[in-house]
C-alpha cells in the first residue's frame, strides 16, 4: 500500500489539469453559494418564464392524454404495419436520456471520478424525470391502459400471470427497478443537504419540510459512516442497472423477428446510445444552469470537456453500431435484412436516416478538437444535435423496420398526427417543469459532496486515511 490518498489523486498529481472547483472557496462559501439558490426569497424572472413555457407544454400533454383516453390510440398515426410510432420512440429516447444520471452517480463514483460531484445531483434528478416521462409512454400506448396492472405478477383470483417470455414484461421489471433504485440513490444523497437547508431555512414551512426530508440528520460520525456505506451499496446496485435497463429495452426489438430489429448487436449499441444521449442532455442542462446561477466555479470547463469526451466515445460506438447493422445486412445474405438496410437509406424515410447519421456520427466529430470541446456554445449545439439524432435513431429503428417488413402487400407508411406531437412535446414540457421545480426547491449541486472537493476537506481526509492506514497491521 502506498501513501497515496484514495481520493482526489488527479487534483494533486496532475496540477496541469484544471481544478474541479475554482480556488478561493471555503466550506461556508460553497454552502452559501448553493443553498442560497433554494433559500433566497423571490424567484428570478427567468425561472418563471422557463416554468411557464414548460408548464404550458404540460397542459398540452394533459389535453392530449385526456383525449387519448377518451377516444383511443387511433388518434395517433399508428396503423397496421406500423403498430408502434412516436410513443415507443419517445419511451426509448427518454429511457436513454435517463441513463446519464445513474452512470454519473454510480459508475463514476465507483471509478473515483471526482469530477462527477458537481453534476451528479441534477443528473440524477434528470434521470428520475426522464424515466418518469419514459414511463408515461408504454402506459399510454396501450389500447386499454386501465388494465396496465395486468403486466405485474400480482396474485389474482383468475390465477393468471403475465407472460414472462415477453420482453415487455422484462421492460416492466427493468424500468421500475431502475426508477426505484435511482430514486433511492438520489434521495440518500440528498439527506445531508436537506439537513443543511433545514438548518438554514428562514421560513417555518421550509424548516419543517426540509426537516422531514432530512430524516433527523445531525451530521454525526455515525450518520456519515452509515451514509457512505449506504451510498456505496446503492451505487453498486445501480451500476448493473445502467447496463441492464437499456439492454432489456433493446430486447423489445432484438427478440422480435422484424428485419431491422432482430439483431444481436442491439444491447451494447443501445446502452452506448443511451449514455450518449444522456450526456448530451446533461450538457444541455448544465450549460444554461451554470450561466444562469453563476455556477461556473463549480461546473467548470473541465466538466464540460469530460462530458464532451464521453459523448465522442459513445458516439463512435453508436456509429460503429450503424455500420455493423449495414454490414451484417449485406454479409448475412438475408434478402429481408438487405432490403431493410437499403430501404432505410433510400426508402421513403431516407431523410430521417441520413439526418440521424449526420446528427449522431458526423456532428460529434468536432469534439476531437480541444477548442471545440472547450467552447461552451459548440458543446451545447452538438449536444442538441445529438439528442435530435438519438430520437431519430429510435424513430428509424421502429418505423422504417416496421413499415416494410416481409410481405410487400402489407407495406405501409406512418406519419405522426397532431396528437403524436402534442404528447411528445408535452413530455418534454413535463421534464422541464419538474426540472425547474427541482432547481428551485432542492440543491441542484450536492453541498456535502462539493465540500469534500475543497482542499481543506482533502487535507483532513488525507490525514484521516493516513492515520487509518497506520492502524493496519
Amino acid at each position: 500500500m502506498s501513501d497515496q490518498p484514495l481520493h482526489n489523486t488527479a487534483q494533486f498529481s496532475t496540477p496541469a489539469e484544471p481544478p474541479l472547483i475554482e480556488p478561493g472557496y471555503t466550506f461556508a462559501s460553497v454552502t452559501d453559494k448553493i443553498s442560497v439558490i433554494v433559500l433566497r426569497k423571490g424567484t428570478p424572472r427567468g425561472w418563471w418564464v422557463g416554468l411557464l413555457i414548460s408548464f404550458s407544454l404540460v397542459s398540452l400533454l394533459l389535453y392530449a392524454v385526456s383525449y387519448l383516453l377518451i377516444a383511443g390510440v387511433g388518434i395517433w398515426g399508428i396503423n397496421i404495419p406500423v403498430g408502434w410510432g412516436f410513443a415507443i420512440t419517445n419511451f426509448v429516447w427518454w429511457i436513454g436520456i435517463g441513463h446519464a444520471g445513474t452512470l454519473i452517480s454510480a459508475i463514476l463514483l465507483l471509478l473515483h471520478q471526482e469530477w462527477r460531484t458537481s453534476i451528479n445531483r441534477f443528473a440524477e434528478a434528470m434521470t428520475l424525470f426522464a424515466v418518469a416521462c419514459a414511463g408515461l409512454f408504454p402506459l399510454l400506448h396501450m389500447g386499454r391502459p386501465w388494465f396496465f396492472y395486468w403486466m405485474f405478477p400480482y396474485p389474482n383470483t383468475m390465477k393468471i400471470w403475465p407472460q414472462f417470455r415477453s420482453p415487455l414484461i422484462w421492460d416492466v421489471f427493468a424500468v421500475s427497478t431502475y426508477f426505484t433504485v435511482s430514486l433511492l440513490f438520489w434521495y440518500v444523497g440528498l439527506v445531508p443537504d436537506m439537513a443543511t437547508l433545514r438548518d438554514r431555512s428562514a421560513s417555518r414551512f421550509g424548516r419543517i419540510a426540509y426537516g422531514v426530508l432530512a430524516m433527523g440528520w445531525r451530521g454525526s460520525a455515525y450518520h456519515w459512516r452509515r451514509y457512505e456505506v449506504a451510498y456505496l451499496i446503492l451505487a453498486g446496485l445501480a451500476t448493473p442497472l445502467v447496463v441492464s435497463v437499456h439492454t432489456v429495452v433493446s430486447f423489445d426489438f432484438a427478440v422480435a423477428n422484424v428485419p431491422g430489429w432482430h439483431s444481436t448487436i442491439f444491447p451494447p449499441y443501445f446502452v452506448a446510445g443511451a449514455i450518449y444521449s444522456g450526456f448530451a442532455m446533461v450538457l444541455i442542462l448544465a450549460i444554461p444552469l451554470r450561466a444562469f446561477y453563476g455556477l461556473e466555479d463549480f461546473i467548470t470547463q473541465r466538466h464540460l470537456e469530460n462530458m464532451g469526451k464521453i459523448m465522442l466515445a459513445t458516439g463512435l460506438i453508436v456509429g460503429y453500431g450503424y455500420f455493423m447493422e449495414a454490414f451484417m445486412a449485406w454479409y448475412g445474405g438475408n434478402q429481408y435484412d438487405l432490403y431493410m438496410a437499403i430501404n432505410r437509406a433510400l426508402g421513403p424515410y431516407w431523410p430521417a436516416y441520413w439526418a440521424l447519421l449526420a446528427c449522431n456520427v458526423v456532428a460529434p466529430q468536432v469534439l476531437w478538437f480541444k477548442r471545440a470541446r472547450s467552447h461552451v456554445a459548440v458543446l451545447f449545439v452538438v449536444a442538441c444535435i445529438v439528442l435530435v439524432g438519438m430520437w431519430l435513431e429510435r424513430f428509424v429503428i421502429i418505423v422504417t423496420s416496421l413499415h416494410r417488413d416481409y410481405l410487400p402487400s402489407s407495406w405501409g407508411m406512418y406519419s405522426p398526427t397532431f396528437w403524436d406531437w402534442a404528447t411528445f412535446l408535452g413530455s418534454i414540457g413535463l421534464f422541464f417543469s419538474l426540472l425547474f421545480l427541482f432547481v428551485r426547491f432542492l440543491p441542484m449541486i450536492s453541498i456535502s459532496e462539493m465540500r469534500t472537493l475543497l482542499p481543506d476537506a482533502n487535507a483532513e481526509q488525507a490525514a484521516e486515511i493516513k492515520s487509518d492506514l497506520t492502524k493496519l497491521p
Binding site: R144, M151, P162, Y406
Partner: protein, 1088 residues
C-alpha cells in the same frame, strides 16, 4: 297537375314518432280516439283485420282493441329488435328436430334475385334473426358458394337507413290511406282501360310477378288495365346479348355454358367468372377443370374425355377477375374487340362473315395461335362474349361456337329466363317519350332507382315531372323516391315471399326468414293491394300461382308436399329449361354488304384500326361498367361492400377513372401514396375532367396496370345523393356521362387534367413481389416435367442471390449444388416444402390423434380474387366497418385479405391473388411477445386470441410477419344501433376498442362441429367444420380440415408437391399453406 310544384322534404319515420311522442299522455289517447273515427282507419281495419271489422260497432270490444292498438304503437318503436316469424310456413333446411332450440341456429333455403337472376342461398337464423347468408349446395347457380353481394345483403336487411314508413310528399302516411288514394286514382284510369298507367320494373324473371303484371287472369294488371304498359329497365341489362342472339338465330335465347367440359376458352370482354347469373357456377366449373388437370386425373364428363389443363384467353379493357386468371390476356379497347372477333371468326372459317380490318402483326399472331388452339379442341371449347359488347360480337361468338361444334357440348341454348325479354334501353326511351308527351297518368315504379340509373340523355328525371301521380316502391327513400308522390317501403327479399329463375331457368322460391322489420311490402303485395279485388299476402300470391302452374300434374295434397320440398330444397325440381332444339344459325346477318347494327355505329368501325396509336389530342374511348362492389348503385349504403377492397384495384369507398400507365404518362397524370398509411392506405391521385359529348364530370384517376391504352373505364353506381348515411356523397356519378348511345362504351371522350388532388383509400398500392415470391407460380408444362420444380427454382434463386451478394459464398453454394447433383440423396420428405419441417432444440408438442390438428390449404391456381371470402368472414365474425378515413390510415379490419401482385410489364402484367388469413403458426411469433398472454395456443394447434385479456400493446402485430392481425384503434364496433345488433353472429364476441383481433379459423364453428360429433358419439369427419371463407369460395380454393385425418382433403392437398408455406423460412410453421399457382400458357404465345 303536372305544373304543381311539390317540395319534397326528406320523409322521415323519426318525424312521425316524434310527433306522436310529442303529445302528452292524455292528448295522445284522445288523438288515437280521433284517429279511430277516420275513414282510413276503418278501411285499415276492414282490410287488415276482416275478422274484427264487425266488432267495431261494439263499444266494449272497441275499447279492448284500443288497448291493443296502444300497446302495438308503443311496441312499434322496438320492432327492430323484436323480430317476428314471417307469415306463411317456411321449412328449415337441415336435419333439425322439430321446432327451434334456443341457441341453435336453423337454416332456411331461399334465393337472392339480382338483375332478374336468382342465386340459391341458405340463410342461417338465430332465434328468428337471419345472421349469415350462405350458398345453397343444391342450387345449380350456387353449389354452396356465394358472391360478395349475397354475403353483404345481410347488412342491407338490417340497414337502419332503409325507409321505414309510407310517405306522401315526404310526409308519413298509413298503408290504408295510401291504398285508398291509389285505388281511387286507379279507378279513374280503369275507366280508360288503363290508358295512362305505366309500370316500371327492373328485369323480372319471377313467374308470379310476371303473371301479376302480364298474365291473363282476373286480378292481373294486363286484364284489369288492358292498355297499361309494363316497362323494364336495369342499368346492367344485357340488351346486346339478346339482340346478338336474335341476330344469330332470329329468336330470343339465353346461352348456358359448361366450363367444366371446356378445354379452350376465349372470352371477348366477358367477365364470366363474375356474371350475376352464373358467375359462381362458372367459377366452380372452370376451376374444377383446372385443378383436376393438375391433379393428373382423367376427366370424364358427360360429353367428352379429356386431360390436360384448360386454357383461357381473354381480350378485355378493364382488368377483371376473369382476365386476371387468364393464361393469355390481351388488353383491348372495347371497340377493338369486334374486329378481333371478326378476325378470329375468319380464321376459324366461319362463313359469310365480313372480313376484318387489318390487324397489327402481334395481334395477327395472337389470333392465329388462338384459332389454332380452338381448332385443336373442337367441341370442347367456348367462345364467350361480354354484356358490354355490341350484338354483332355476340352473334360472332355464336357463329364461332357453331363452327367449332361446341353447341350441345359446352354451349347450350335455352329459352330466355327473363319473363319478358326485351330491349330495355328502347323501352326506357319509349317511356320517356310517353312521359314527355303527357300520356302517363300514373307511374308505378316497382323497385329500382331510375332517376339515378337511367342514361343522362333520356332526362328521365325531367320527364318524370310530367307524370301527375308517381309511386315508388323501394328499400330506401332514394333519388327516385324523392321525385315521387308516394313512396312505399319495400320488403327485403329476406322479409318477403317471391320467386325467381336462375341462369338455367330453374325456379327458386324466395322464402322470408323474418317479418318485415320496417313494415315493408313486396312488389307482389303492392300489386295485389292496388289491382286485385282483395289484397292478398305475398305468401298466398306466390303459393297460389304455383298451385296453378306447378310443373308436373299433381293433385292438391301432392302439391303441398312438393311445395314444402321445394322450399326445403331451395328450388322447384325439374324447372330448368331444356336445351332448345332446332336452332339454326342464320347466315344473313353479317354479309359484307349488310349495314351493321345501329347500336354499333357509335362504336365505330373506323375506330378499330388497332395498330395506330392515338395521339393525345385525339378523343379517347370511355367504358362504363357496374362497380364490382356497389354494383349499379343499389348497394351504395352497404358498409361491407363499400369497404371491401375491389378485386383488382384494391380501392375502397370510391370509384375512379381507370387509365393505363401509358395513357397516364401521356396525359401527365400521376398517383402517389400519401404519408398516412401510404401503400397500405392513402393514395393521392390527380383529378381530371372527363368530357363526353358536352357532358362533363370530375373524377379522380387511377393508374391500372393491364388496362387497355387510350381508353378510360368508369364504374357507375357511385355518386349517390340519397343513398343513406353510408353511401351518400361517396364517389362520382358516372351515369352523368352515360347516354343511351353509349351505354357500355363510346368514343369522343376528352380528358383535361385539373389542378386538384384527391385522396383515395386503397388497401394495397404495392404491385410487386419484390423478388420474394409470396405467390409461387409456374406453368403446367413445367409442373408436368418436374412436379417439384418450384422447390428447385426456389433453391436456385436463393443460391443465386447469395452468390451475387457475397462473392465469397460462390464456392460454398457450388459445393452444395454439387452435392445435390450427384446425390439425389434427398430424403423422401423433400417432396414437401422443407421449410415446413420442425426445426427446434426442444421436443415437439404432440398434436397427434386423437386430437385434431386443424389446417388450411389455399389453392392459388383456383383463386380468382373475387373477395367473397372477405365479406363472408366479415359477416361470420362481426367484423366492423371503419370508414374511408380509417382505411386511408391503413386500419381496415378484414381478417382475411386478398393480396394482389403483378408480374411482368405494366402494360399487360400477369396478376396473382393470394388470400391471407391468419397462418395459425405452430411457432407463432405473436404469442411469444404478448406480455399478458392474450394470444395463446390451443391443444389442437390454433393460435387463439383472448380478447378480454388483451391490453393492446400491438407487439403481436409488429411481430407477425404476415401482418394479419387487426387492431381496434377506436371503438369501431357499433354498440349503439339497435337494428344492427340483431344481425350479428351471437357466437362471436363484439370487440371493444384497444383490443387486437384476427382470424380464428372460425373457432366457433370448430367447437360447434366438435360438440355435434361428440353428441353423435363419433370423431369429427372431414367436412363437418367449414370456415366461413371456405364456404363462400365459389372456386373451392380454400380447404380446411383436420390434418391428422389422412383422408381429409386438406391433408391430401398438403401432401402435394406444389404445397408451400408462406415465409416458412422464418420457422413459423404455418398451418395455413398455399398450393402454388399454375397457369397454362400457350407455347406459341409465350412472349405475349
Amino acid at each position: 297537375m303536372s305544373s304543381m310544384n311539390y317540395s319534397f322534404n326528406q320523409p322521415s319515420a323519426a318525424d312521425a314518432v316524434q310527433r306522436l311522442t310529442a303529445r302528452s299522455g292524455k292528448e295522445y289517447w284522445r288523438g288515437l280516439e280521433e284517429f279511430v273515427e277516420t275513414e282510413s282507419f276503418q278501411e285499415l281495419i276492414r282490410s287488415q283485420f276482416p275478422e274484427h271489422a264487425a266488432q267495431w260497432s261494439n263499444a266494449l270490444t272497441r275499447r279492448q282493441f284500443l288497448c291493443l292498438m296502444g300497446a302495438s304503437l308503443a311496441l312499434a318503436g322496438v320492432a327492430g329488435c323484436s323480430p317476428q316469424p314471417p307469415v306463411g310456413k317456411i321449412m328449415p333446411y337441415v336435419r333439425q328436430p322439430e321446432g327451434m332450440t334456443l341457441g341453435k341456429p336453423q337454416f332456411y333455403a331461399t334465393a337472392m334475385d339480382r338483375g332478374g337472376v336468382a342465386t340459391g342461398l341458405l340463410v342461417k337464423s338465430h332465434e328468428g334473426r337471419p345472421t349469415k347468408v350462405e350458398g345453397n349446395p343444391n342450387h345449380p347457380a350456387s353449389l354452396g358458394a356465394t358472391d360478395v353481394f349475397a354475403q353483404a345483403t345481410l347488412l342491407g336487411l338490417y340497414d337502419p337507413d332503409r325507409s321505414q314508413s309510407i310517405t306522401y310528399l315526404g310526409q308519413p302516411r298509413g298503408w290504408s290511406s295510401a291504398q285508398l288514394a291509389l285505388r281511387k286514382a286507379l279507378e279513374a284510369i280503369r275507366k280508360n282501360n288503363g290508358r295512362g298507367l305505366r309500370i316500371l320494373t327492373e328485369t323480372i324473371s319471377s313467374p308470379t310477378l310476371a303473371d301479376q303484371l302480364a298474365g291473363q287472369r282476373k286480378g292481373s294488371v294486363a286484364r284489369e288495365f288492358p292498355e297499361a304498359k309494363w316497362y323494364q329497365y336495369e342499368p346492367t341489362h344485357g340488351d346486346a346479348r339478346l339482340a346478338g342472339a336474335r341476330l344469330a338465330f332470329g329468336e330470343d335465347i339465353d346461352t348456358v355454358y359448361n366450363f367444366f367440359a371446356a378445354e379452350v376458352i376465349v372470352s371477348l370482354d366477358a367477365d364470366f367468372l363474375a356474371f350475376p347469373a352464373a358467375g359462381l357456377r362458372y367459377t366452380r366449373d372452370f376451376m374444377n377443370r383446372r385443378a383436376a388437370a393438375r391433379d393428373a386425373k382423367i376427366i370424364t364428363s358427360n360429353e367428352t374425355t379429356q386431360s390436360g389443363m384448360n386454357r383461357l384467353y381473354v381480350a378485355e379493357c378493364m382488368p377483371t377477375i376473369t382476365g386476371s386468371v387468364a393464361d393469355h390476356k390481351l388488353p383491348l379497347r372495347p371497340s377493338e374487340i369486334q374486329n378481333l372477333a371478326r378476325a378470329l371468326a375468319a380464321e376459324l372459317g366461319t362463313a359469310d362473315i365480313q372480313p376484318p380490318e387489318p390487324l397489327a402483326e402481334s395481334r395477327k399472331k395472337w389470333v392465329a395461335a388462338v384459332a389454332k388452339d380452338l381448332q385443336r379442341h373442337r367441341g370442347s371449347s367456348i367462345v364467350i362474349s361480354g354484356n358490354g359488347q355490341p350484338p354483332i360480337v355476340h352473334a360472332l361468338a355464336h357463329a364461332m361456337n357453331n363452327v367449332l361444334g361446341n353447341v350441345g357440348r359446352t354451349v347450350r341454348y335455352i329459352e330466355p329466363i327473363e319473363a319478358r325479354p326485351t330491349e330495355q334501353s328502347g323501352e326506357l326511351r319509349a317511356l320517356g317519350q310517353e312521359m314527355q308527351a303527357g300520356n302517363v297518368q300514373l307511374l308505378l315504379i316497382l323497385a329500382g332507382n331510375p332517376v339515378f340509373t337511367t342514361p343522362a340523355d333520356l332526362e328521365f328525371e325531367k320527364h318524370l315531372q310530367n307524370v301527375p301521380l308517381r309511386v315508388h316502391l323501394g328499400l330506401y327513400t332514394d333519388e327516385t323516391a324523392a321525385q315521387c308522390h308516394w313512396h312505399i317501403p319495400e320488403a327485403h327479399f329476406l322479409e318477403s315471399w317471391s320467386d325467381a329463375r336462375t341462369f338455367d331457368g330453374s325456379v327458386s322460391i324466395i322464402q322470408p326468414l323474418i317479418a318485415p322489420l320496417y313494415g315493408g311490402r313486396s312488389a307482389h303485395e303492392v300489386l295485389s293491394a292496388l289491382v286485385e279485388e282483395a289484397e292478398r299476402p305475398g305468401h298466398e300470391l306466390v303459393r297460389s300461382y304455383w298451385r296453378k302452374n306447378w310443373p308436373r300434374k299433381s293433385n292438391a295434397t301432392d302439391f303441398d308436399w312438393q311445395w314444402e320440398k321445394s322450399l326445403h330444397d331451395g328450388m322447384i325440381a325439374e324447372t330448368a329449361f331444356a336445351p332448345k332444339q332446332g336452332l339454326k344459325l342464320r347466315l344473313d346477318w353479317d354479309k359484307p354488304t349488310a349495314a351493321r347494327s345501329t347500336s354499333t355505329n357509335s362504336l365505330g368501325a373506323s375506330q378499330t384500326s388497332a395498330n395506330s396509336a392515338q395521339p393525345a389530342s385525339e378523343p379517347l374511348e370511355i367504358v362504363f361498367q357496374p362497380d364490382p362492389t356497389v354494383f349499379d348503385g343499389r348497394f351504395a349504403n352497404n358498409g361491407w361492400l363499400q369497404e371491401l377492397p375491389k378485386p383488382i384495384t384494391k380501392l375502397t369507398w370510391d370509384n375512379a377513372a381507370f387509365v393505363s400507365p401509358a395513357l397516364a404518362e401521356k396525359l401527365g397524370l400521376s398517383q402517389t401514396f400519401g404519408s398516412s398509411g401510404g401503400e397500405h392506405g392513402e393514395a393521392l391521385v390527380d383529378v381530371v375532367e372527363l368530357t363526353l359529348h358536352g357532358r362533363t364530370l370530375e373524377a379522380p384517376i387511377w393508374i391500372l396496370p393491364g388496362h387497355a391504352d387510350d381508353c378510360v373505364t368508369v364504374h357507375y353506381g357511385y355518386g349517390r345523393t340519397l343513398a343513406g348515411k353510408v353511401g351518400s356523397g361517396v364517389g362520382f356519378n358516372a351515369y352523368q356521362l352515360r347516354t343511351s348511345e353509349a351505354l357500355n362504351f363510346g368514343t369522343g371522350l376528352t380528358i383535361r387534367k385539373l389542378d386538384k388532388r384527391f385522396t383515395l383509400a386503397c388497401t394495397q398500392m404495392h404491385h410487386s413481389m419484390e423478388g420474394r415470391a409470396p405467390v409461387r407460380e409456374g406453368s403446367f408444362d413445367e409442373f408436368v416435367a418436374n412436379p417439384q420444380f418450384l422447390e428447385a427454382r426456389e433453391t436456385e434463386e436463393h443460391r443465386r442471390f447469395q452468390r451475387e451478394l457475397v462473392p465469397g459464398r460462390g464456392a460454398e453454394s457450388k459445393l452444395a449444388e454439387a452435392s445435390d447433383a450427384d446425390g439425389g440423396s434427398k430424403p423422401e420428405q423433400s417432396k414437401l416444402d422443407s421449410r415446413l419441417q420442425p426445426l427446434s432444440l426442444y421436443p415437439e408438442y404432440d398434436y397427434g390423434p386423437p386430437k385434431n390438428k386443424w389446417g388450411m390449404s389455399i389453392d392459388l391456381t383456383k383463386c380468382t380474387g373475387c373477395s367473397a371470402c372477405v365479406i363472408a368472414c366479415q359477416a361470420e365474425n362481426n367484423i366492423p366497418v371503419v370508414g374511408k378515413t380509417e382505411v386511408t390510415r391503413g386500419r381496415e379490419m378484414h381478417w382475411v385479405r386478398v393480396d394482389r401482385y403483378y408480374k411482368g410489364d405494366s402494360e399487360n402484367p400477369a396478376t396473382y391473388f393470394q388470400p391471407v388469413p391468419c397462418m395459425q403458426c405452430e411457432n407463432a411469433p405473436c404469442e411469444l411477445v404478448c406480455p399478458v398472454g392474450a394470444t395463446v395456443h390451443s391443444a389442437d394447434g390454433l393460435n387463439d386470441m383472448v380478447y378480454n385479456r388483451c391490453v393492446g400493446t400491438r407487439y403481436c402485430s409488429n411481430n407477425c410477419p404476415y401482418k394479419v392481425r387487426r387492431f381496434n384503434f377506436f371503438e369501431y364496433a357499433d354498440f349503439h344501433t339497435e337494428s344492427l345488433k340483431a344481425g350479428r353472429n351471437p357466437e362471436v364476441t363484439i370487440r371493444s376498442r384497444g383490443v387486437m383481433e384476427k382470424c380464428t379459423y372460425c373457432v366457433q364453428r370448430i367447437r360447434a362441429g366438435q360438440i355435434q360429433a361428440e353428441l353423435a358419439g363419433r370423431s369429427i369427419r372431414d367436412g363437418d367444420v367449414e370456415t366461413a371463407c371456405q364456404q363462400a369460395c365459389p372456386a373451392r380454393a380454400i380447404v380446411f380440415g383436420d390434418m391428422n385425418d389422412t383422408g381429409s382433403e386438406v391433408a391430401k392437398q398438403k401432401a402435394e408437391p406444389l404445397n408451400y408455406g408462406l415465409l416458412a423460412e422464418l420457422n413459423t410453421r404455418p398451418r395455413t399453406t398455399y398450393v402454388a399457382s399454375l397457369r397454362n400458357p400457350n407455347p406459341e404465345l409465350e412472349s405475349t
